[in-house]
């Protein structure tokens, strides 16, 4: 490499900056949705018949009498410290979602750790044997799987594995008192369901990403040099597909987040999804805002990582002229 400053670092820094800006915009959007609330915020919560005094007291308790932007800064500031203020029920938001968040993260990360390598491998196999029976099988079944509602997959698995074969517990109510092994055992069914949901999306996108590289002239050239099909995939196509694969994997983590909410409800898993649904029913906006901010930040973070991976894997940037 030359003595010139490598553009790589400035690009990565730029991406990180862009990520932070997106998080800021998103937080602004999340926060300002509350001001879309028709009529008074407090009146909507307390009901139309609430006395003006009650409304005022409520607003003061939640700090709603302060200017909008000030409230936003306060909210964001405490969010950075891991606090999200009081929910409408009066309990601190963090107490409601904190312990459940840990459970959800555990469920999601176990799934992701299994799903990502498996999806990439299956995607490569599909691309390698394109049009052959194995590819048709995986492609068609993944097309079917993305068409299934999450709860359908969940209940079918439950029906077969828990009810008919009695191999696994049908409910995944893990508690603090349980041993980690017991907790894991109860998580098998939810993890399996989530895997099927997310694998289907990831395999399809990975296959498409590799195949688009496979249609390039240098892949044909590799074949014309007499390279074997395995080497064409692994040596010629894959290095150029790392970036696209990383970004489809990151994008697909959105399905994981959506899937988690449904699956937690099906298996009565004590995760943050449950509390979100409860919050929607009770219209407990602060809880939802906190969850939205956390999930959005995580999602932006994953996409940022994918961006950095595709920058680092691009030889044009890695080896400037």
């Amino acid at each position: 490499m030359t003595g010139k400053p490598n553009p790589l670092f400035s690009m990565i820094l730029g991406r990180i900056g862009l990520g932070l800006v997106s998080i800021l915009i998103v937080s602004l959007v999340i926060f300002s949705t509350v001001s879309l609330l028709p009529g008074s915020y407090a009146a909507a919560i307390l009901g139309q018949n609430a006395t003006p005094e009650a409304v005022a007291a409520f607003e003061e308790r939640l700090g709603l009498d302060q200017p909008w932007f000030w409230r936003y800064l306060q909210w964001l500031g405490s969010a950075v410290r891991g606090e999200f203020g009081l929910s409408f029920s009066g309990r601190p938001v963090i107490d409601i979602i904190g312990p459940r968040l840990v459970n959800t993260v555990l469920l999601a990360s176990i799934t992701a750790v299994i799903a990502v390598p498996l999806a990439v491998t299956l995607g490569i196999i599909c691309a390698r044997y394109r049009g052959r029976p194995i590819d048709r099988l995986i492609s068609t079944s993944s097309l079917a799987a993305i068409s299934f509602p999450e709860f359908f997959i969940a209940y079918v698995l439950m029906m077969i594995l828990a009810v008919q074969l009695q191999l696994l517990p049908s409910m995944a109510g893990i508690r603090d008192g349980m041993s980690f092994g017991e907790q894991l055992y109860r998580m098998i069914l939810p993890v399996l369901t989530l895997l099927m949901v997310i694998l289907a999306h990831m395999v399809r996108n990975t296959r498409a990403a590799i195949l688009s590289v496979m249609s390039s002239a240098y892949v044909e050239m590799a074949r014309l040099k007499g390279e074997s099909e395995d080497r064409v995939i692994m040596y010629h196509a894959l290095p150029n597909a790392i970036g696209p694969i990383a970004s489809v994997v990151a994008l697909n983590l959105a399905y994981l987040i959506a899937g988690v909410v449904v699956i937690e409800v099906v298996f009565v898993y004590p995760g943050v999804g449950q509390s979100m649904i409860d919050a929607v029913r009770n219209r407990d906006v602060p809880v939802i805002q906190a969850c939205a901010l956390i999930f959005a930040t995580a999602y932006i973070g994953f996409n940022l990582i994918a961006d950095v991976i595709s920058i680092v894997s691009n030889p044009r940037l890695l080896h400037p002229r």
Partner: protein
């Protein structure tokens, strides 16, 4: 090149016999190669000439036993050293590629893998299957770099493809083909993507290594002038059939098939230049000290140019010379940073949105690719009818009549009005584009490389038609082109551009007569001549 040691003696390196290949189009198979037979002796170079879609590349790839997806061989054989590649399994064909038969692709920029260093890509076949050790292969690669006159041959291979220029990359690809000392190389239009001045360097390099290494070659091109410098023998391909084959001299001097003869249509086209256009007409368009930039890049610098009424001005230059940018500035798609454009002596608004419809009507543009210039989802009637309505308010019967009239002017029958562009051939589409421009009754037509994607015969027809129309309608042309031959045929005046500047302006006659400006000299010298021996002359000249 024409005096190769008696090739008749040895066995053929490749023998293609009665090859039929089907291509898949819209779910149906139709033959694209129809009973082609070829054979090459060691060290012999066969030029495979044909227009786009003639099946050249398909045959070239079949020489390696390779068929693209959507193609299948239905009959015939391809024998390399006696083995029929089409009748053995892929696993047995594969090891022969790169070692016995090698391939040089049209665009080296696309055909080199961006993720690996050149040396890795060039030596990989030699190490894997050529029986060479890594150091051996690398040494041979460096020797080849020297032979191909690549810069810094010792470290050249350490670079990545994007770190090397197009012409160098194309030569690196030749090195890759030669690494295992194959007995046959297929060159698939290896210089088509290059500028003329770069093309010469690559041609010289290819000629030299073919001779030095005594390798047989199939050289695929659409350009008879290029083949005249490289090949011993020429096969002319049309619609998947070889219609004429013979020694180079015979084909050049005594073409027999009408189609082969028509390849000279443009070359032989002469015009009665007695009536020089636009002499007393006065300037229709004048460009005064115009500069334009894309960000920091100066695309045009201080350009001065005039187009007279009824005249044809040719704007010549290589890619990146700024000739198309100038077209964009004139049409108002790009704003100049300095200078102004006068129309009939009055300044023209710089932005297309600010120009009145009447001004827009007077300047029309025809594009290089009629494929992208005509909306594929619109009938020809609508395409030609739109300017009639927009500029002249024509409706109903009057418009229909005028559409028919315009179609006649471009020598198309009225039945074309109901067709979609996708159903037309390249030449027909370009005629429709011309009719659309004429529909406006323009005074100036900017022709942006309008013949360069057409077949040679069609080029000549379209040019002749444009000149006829000029005589009848008195329209002026600004002809943007890189093709010196087109310039010779059509232009009254020639303007040469390089790096965004005008380097020469002259009458066509004096432009082609020496003395030339240095850049013009280089440009003219780089254009291959239809006669053989042109490259020999250049090589000889350099040796002095």
């Amino acid at each position: 090149m024409h005096d190769t040691a008696n090739p008749e003696a040895a066995a053929p390196v490749i023998e293609i016999r009665d090859l039929w290949i089907d291509g898949k189009l819209n779910e149906t198979w139709a033959p694209i190669v129809k009973g082609v037979s070829l054979s090459l002796r060691p060290g012999e170079v066969l030029g495979l000439v044909g227009e786009s879609g003639a099946g050249k590349s398909t045959i070239g790839l079949a020489a390696l036993g390779y068929l693209r997806s959507g193609a299948r061989a239905t009959a015939g054989s391809v024998r390399i050293d006696g083995t029929d590649l089409l009748s053995i399994p892929e696993a047995d064909r594969r090891p022969m590629r790169g070692t016995r038969v090698a391939y040089v692709a049209q665009s080296a920029q696309a055909a080199f893998n961006p993720a690996h260093r050149l040396m890795e890509q060039i030596t990989t076949v030699a190490v894997k299957r050529g029986g060479m050790r890594r150091e051996e292969a690398q040494k041979r690669a460096v020797d080849l770099f020297v032979a191909l006159q690549l810069p810094e041959p010792n470290t050249f291979g350490e670079r990545y493809p994007h770190q090397v220029s197009g012409g160098q990359l194309q030569r690196a690809m030749v090195a890759m083909a030669l690494i295992c000392n194959p007995s046959l190389i297929v060159f698939d239009e290896p210089t088509t993507a290059l500028d003329v001045t770069t093309q010469v360097e690559v041609l010289i390099a290819i000629r030299k290594v073919i001779e030095d290494f005594g390798v047989a070659a199939i050289y695929i091109t659409h350009d008879l002038a290029v083949v005249a410098q490289i090949a011993h023998r020429v096969a002319v391909l049309r619609f998947g059939e070889i219609i004429e084959e013979g020694a180079l001299d015979r084909i050049l001097n005594d073409p027999r098939h009408p189609y082969t003869q028509s390849l000279w249509a443009l070359h032989d086209m002469t015009l009665d230049k007695s009536d020089q256009h636009g002499q007393g007409g006065g300037a229709l368009l004048s460009i005064e000290s115009v500069s334009a930039r894309y960000g920091d890049f100066a695309a045009l610098t201080d350009v001065n140019l005039q187009v007279e009424k009824g005249a044809t001005v040719a704007l010549v230059g290589e890619s990146g010379s700024g000739k198309s940018t100038l077209g964009r500035v004139i049409t108002g798609l790009m704003e100049p940073s300095e200078g102004q454009i006068l129309w009939d002596g009055k300044p023209l608004a710089t932005k297309v949105q600010r120009r009145p419809l009447e001004t827009l009507r007077r300047i029309q543009i025809i594009y290089q690719s009629a494929d992208t210039a005509l909306n594929p989802r619109t009938t020809i009637r609508k395409i030609i009818g739109r300017p009639l309505k927009l500029y002249h308010g024509l409706r109903g019967k009057a418009r229909e009549a005028r559409v028919t009239e315009l179609l006649k002017m471009v020598e198309l029958s009225e039945a074309f009005a109901d067709r979609y562009p996708g159903q037309l051939s390249g030449g027909q589409k370009q005629r429709v584009a011309i009719a659309r421009a004429l529909a406006a009754n323009p005074e100036l037509i900017i022709c942006d490389e309008i013949t360069s994607s057409l077949d040679k015969v069609v080029q000549a027809e379209v040019l002749r038609m444009l000149l006829d129309l000029q005589d009848r309608l008195g329209v002026s042309y600004l002809f943007i082109t890189h093709d010196i031959e087109v310039v010779r045929v059509i232009a009254d005046r020639v303007v040469v551009m390089q790096n965004g500047r005008i380097v020469e302006q002259d009458d066509t006659a004096s432009f082609f007569a020496p003395p030339h400006e240095p850049y013009t000299e280089k440009l003219l010298a780089s254009v291959p001549d239809m006669a053989g021996g042109w490259l020999d002359a250049i090589i000889a000249q350099r040796a002095v």
